[in-house]
């Protein structure tokens, strides 16, 4: 008797609540990219890019063979308006067939207007909901709405989101864009001592996007942009450069140097309890990857000349980035504030609110040192002046 009662209870416990969240893979919409923007009225527009797995498989298996145009598209893009992100996502169910599954989001694209209004508060949903993919790449769309960017149909990948992610990855390797994952953005937003930056994405045509440059934020609001060189300068300072190529010209010959190692040290120098100067020290190592010219590269002196030229180039980029951040945007994206907070906490408490103004006024000392290690397989150019 007792056992049968227990058995019934057990069966009930399985059958009644058991499969409340049992959802088949075919009953979800696999969201590959998410776009968030605002319209003029301040309503939030959410754009989703949803993959059609069967079509993706089909197109990727027939890829390169021309591909029929009569097939179903591998992805579709839908937008919907709402008061909040969540509201828009839920309301979107009126135009799509299945539940939206956000964990597969590869790219999150923020609209320009949305960013200008401030992202600090509005991104709350993505932080709160368990489904959001913290590893998604965040980019800010410049000169186009997220919807326009997500609607591109790239030749290279069947899923536009993967294409965008790929370009961001590539560019980040060249140190021309800052690759920021959602979770890093949350950290930046929470960080009081430093202003957030997000990579920038622009739309070139129906098939291509370009991820280069950086969006600069000030207290959560988009204030301006850095171009690709300034971005690299910024990345040099924040020690995020892994690989990049710096070019310069010496005596009518053009040289590209591949930076293989970079370590940047920044410091705030205090005098009489007040910050007097910012200092940046860069130590780089590189290889000569290309040399278009006729000069020989036989002696160390030749290399010295190139080293000097390259370090000037890097210095220039860093200065450009600093000028932009200090003069134009007065936003401490480099994180000098962190140093102050760390080493002069008392002072930091006093100036916390106006640190960005103080930062903008401080003079900067940039010092760059580069060592060229290798010249590739050959030393001098193929044909050289004797």
């Amino acid at each position: 008797m007792k056992i049968s009662k227990l058995a019934i209870l057990f069966m009930l416990s399985i059958l009644l609540p058991g499969c409340w969240d049992n959802t088949d893979l075919t009953d979800i919409n696999i969201v590959t990219a998410l776009g968030i923007d605002k319209d003029e009225d301040g309503k939030i527009i959410v754009t989703v890019q949803v993959a059609e797995p069967a079509a993706v498989q089909l197109t990727s298996s027939t890829h390169g063979g021309g591909g029929g145009s009569a097939q179903i598209k591998p992805v579709y893009v839908k937008s919907y308006k709402g008061e909040t992100i969540y509201d828009a996502l839920i309301s979107m169910k009126s135009i799509i067939d299945k539940r939206l599954f956000l964990s597969t989001t590869q790219v999150l694209i923020l609209g320009e207007r949305f960013c200008k209004d401030g992202i600090n508060e509005t991104l709350d949903y993505l932080h709160r909901d368990y489904q959001a993919n913290y590893l998604a790449d965040v980019l800010v769309a410049r000169g186009a709405t997220p919807e326009q960017i997500l609607k591109i149909q790239p030749d290279m990948d069947t899923i536009p989101a993967m294409y965008i992610k790929g370009t961001a990855e590539n560019t980040a390797i060249r140190a021309k864009v800052e690759r920021k994952m959602l979770i890093e953005l949350f950290k930046d937003i929470k960080n009081e001592c430093r202003q957030a930056t997000i990579g920038q994405i622009t739309r070139l045509d129906d098939k291509t996007v370009k991820t280069e440059g950086t969006a600069v934020f000030m207290n959560g609001k988009l204030v301006g942009w850095l171009d690709q060189y300034q971005t690299r300068g910024y990345l040099f300072v924040t020690d995020k450069v892994k690989h990049t190529t710096v070019s310069c010209s010496v005596n009518n010959s053009k040289i590209s140097v591949e930076i293989i190692q970079s370590s940047g040290k920044k410091n705030v120098i205090f005098k009489n309890g007040e910050p007097a100067k910012l200092s940046i020290q860069m130590r780089l190592e590189g290889n000569i990857s290309e040399y278009i010219g006729k000069e020989t590269l036989n002696s160390p002196e030749d290399i010295r000349i190139i080293e000097k030229k390259i370090s000037q180039e890097v210095k220039k980029e860093i200065n450009m980035a600093l000028t932009k951040a200090q003069k134009d945007y007065s936003s401490d994206i480099f994180g000098f504030g962190e140093l102050v907070h760390k080493y002069y906490p008392q002072y930091w408490k006093k100036v916390m609110d106006k640190w960005n103004d103080i930062f903008s006024r401080l003079p900067v000392d940039v010092w760059v040192d580069i060592k060229i290690r290798q010249t590739g397989l050959i030393k001098s150019p193929m044909k050289k002046d004797e």
Binding site: L15, C19, N22, L25, T26, I30, P53, S103, T104, Y130
Partner: protein
């Protein structure tokens, strides 16, 4: 109602017992040969295979001998050559008068040239001898009958067992004949410490059972326990060791086999040497070994003949196969029904694409495919060998191609079922266990996802830890942890490094002789 049935059955049994004529234990043999004949005729009435032959010889035809045997069971040539002809020859040449007592002794000692002679003191013994294939000689005037072993060789030759194939090592498998099996074991252990204890079980069949162990290695308490449990068996018939297995197993309500069985001689011998006890049964090539541990499922005879590195790798592979065969379908179902978040992006596209257009839920799909496979497997076991080709074609096409093409099953599910099936065959002792456990996990996975799977795994683990096989914990050497026995578990150390016998099974001197010798040799060489 039950009581009534029981009563009825009980009465029935009693009647049967009464009906068995020869069960009268104390019935002595009559002196008079005619009375013996009469009695035997009543006992063997309607037994058309029963044959008796009168021999009358000697001076004045004074010696009457009755030879009784079962037709076909005895080798008639041998019977004639060794028993009947010598008697006739002897008594036709001599003209001495013989008294009954001396005739008996004479026949036993001097005349019969067969080397297997036993005395039967009572009717019961005599009849038992007849039905178990001996020729029994009843001599007029003697109260003792002579049972002469002239059994004709029966059954098949020793050959390689189909169920357990090994790449290396002996190919001899046990056969149905008990004495052949005993020889096969004795051949490998030439040592009087190897003991065979004979018993008869089954009130109707009188099957010979043999408990086999090596004295001094096997644990006496376990031997006593085996003996006790076997003697407790009350059954009409023992047709296979499987009957005994069910009677003597520690826990009747478990899926896991608590008694091991094998058909291979070398495997059994190694088990005996580890201190296990074997139970042989006449009429079946399967020999039981107790105690049996879980870890034996991933051990094979080949392991010990091969290099330890390969053997260890194969052991780990088998363990993996064990996990795959029980868990893979459940994990897949849990993954595609609940935990989409943990699937990598590119995989989720593939998964979703393969699931597109399938009308069933992953669970139903998995159950269908696994059932289809199990049906195929069962058919493959039961069907005549000749139609095997047809079945495998149908199986491959139905399971592999058509179900996917028809949109009944996703091709990923076919792959998963296939891998599961392959893996389940890697650990033969647990094939049926994994089949059922797989279903349990599958059902739980469909309702509770990973949480359910992990909880069920815990329950299964607890169950495994609670099991005992003849007092030895089933999970030995992992639980309780026996460090010394880990050498022959998931990782196999080379044979020369196995210095001790399995501690859990063994009593007394745990040193492995070979190990000691090796150590001593090493010591001597060091001294030098």
């Amino acid at each position: 109602m039950f009581r009534r049935i029981k009563k009825y059955l009980g009465l029935d049994n009693q009647e049967k017992d009464n009906g068995a004529i020869y069960t009268d234990t104390d019935e002595p043999l009559p002196r008079n040969i005619d009375k013996v004949k009469e009695r035997l005729n009543t006992i063997f009435s309607e037994c058309s295979d029963y044959i008796q032959r009168d021999i009358v010889c000697g001076e004045d035809n004074g010696i009457c001998i009755l030879v009784a045997y079962i037709d076909g069971f005895v080798d008639k040539k041998v019977l004639n050559q060794d028993v009947i002809r010598p008697i006739l020859d002897y008594f036709s040449c001599t003209d001495k008068l013989h008294r009954a007592k001396s005739v008996y002794q004479l026949i036993k000692r001097c005349i019969i040239s067969s080397n297997e002679i036993e005395e039967a003191q009572s009717m019961r013994q005599a009849v038992y001898r007849i039905v178990s294939g001996d020729a029994v000689l009843f001599i007029n005037g003697s109260r003792i009958a002579l049972a002469v072993g002239v059994k004709a060789p029966q059954g098949r030759q020793v050959e390689e067992p189909d169920t357990e194939v090994s790449l290396r090592g002996s190919r001899e498998g046990f056969v149905e004949n008990l004495s052949t099996n005993m020889v096969l074991i004795r051949k490998r252990i030439k040592n009087p410490n190897l003991k065979f204890e004979m018993l008869q079980l089954g009130t109707q069949t009188n099957t010979d059972i043999c408990i086999c162990y090596i004295k001094g290695i096997a644990n006496d308490e376990i031997i006593e326990e085996v003996r006790r449990r076997i003697l407790k068996i009350r059954s009409d018939a023992i047709l296979d060791t499987g009957y005994i297995e069910q009677y003597i197993t520690d826990n009747q309500f478990t899926l896991f086999p608590l008694v091991g069985n094998s058909e291979k001689c070398d495997k059994l011998v190694s088990k005996l040497l580890e201190g296990r006890i074997a139970i042989l049964c006449d009429g079946t090539p399967y020999v039981l070994t107790v105690p049996s541990l879980l870890v034996e499922a991933i051990q094979t005879a080949d392991d010990y003949y091969d290099h330890a590195f390969f053997a260890s790798f194969m052991r780990l592979l088998r363990l993996l196969a064990l996990f795959i065969s029980t868990l893979l379908p459940a994990l897949y179902v849990a993954l595609v029904s609940f935990h989409h978040t943990v699937i990598p992006f590119k995989l989720i596209i593939t998964l979703a694409a393969s699931r597109q257009g399938i009308p069933f839920s992953p669970f139903i799909e998995a159950v269908l495919m696994i059932m289809a496979f199990e049906l195929l497997r069962e058919a493959g076991v039961r069907m005549p060998r000749t139609v095997g080709q047809a079945l495998s074609i149908v199986g491959a096409i139905v399971l592999g191609e058509a179900s996917v093409a028809a949109g009944i099953a996703s091709n990923l599910m076919v792959i998963i079922v296939a891998i599961t099936a392959i893996c389940s065959f890697i650990t033969p002792p647990l094939i049926r266990v994994t089949m059922l456990v797989r279903f349990i996990f599958l059902i739980i996975a469909n309702f509770f996802g990973f949480l359910g799977i992990s909880l069920t795994a815990v329950v299964v683990l607890i169950h495994l830890c609670r099991l005992r096989s003849f007092g030895i914990p089933y999970m030995t050497p992992f639980s309780p942890l026996t460090m010394a026995d880990l050498k022959d578990s998931l990782i196999l150390v080379p044979i020369w490094a196995m210095i001790t016998r399995p501690k859990a099974l063994f009593q007394g001197d745990t040193q492995n002789r070979a190990g000691i010798k090796r150590q001593e040799a090493a010591k001597i060489s060091e001294d030098k």
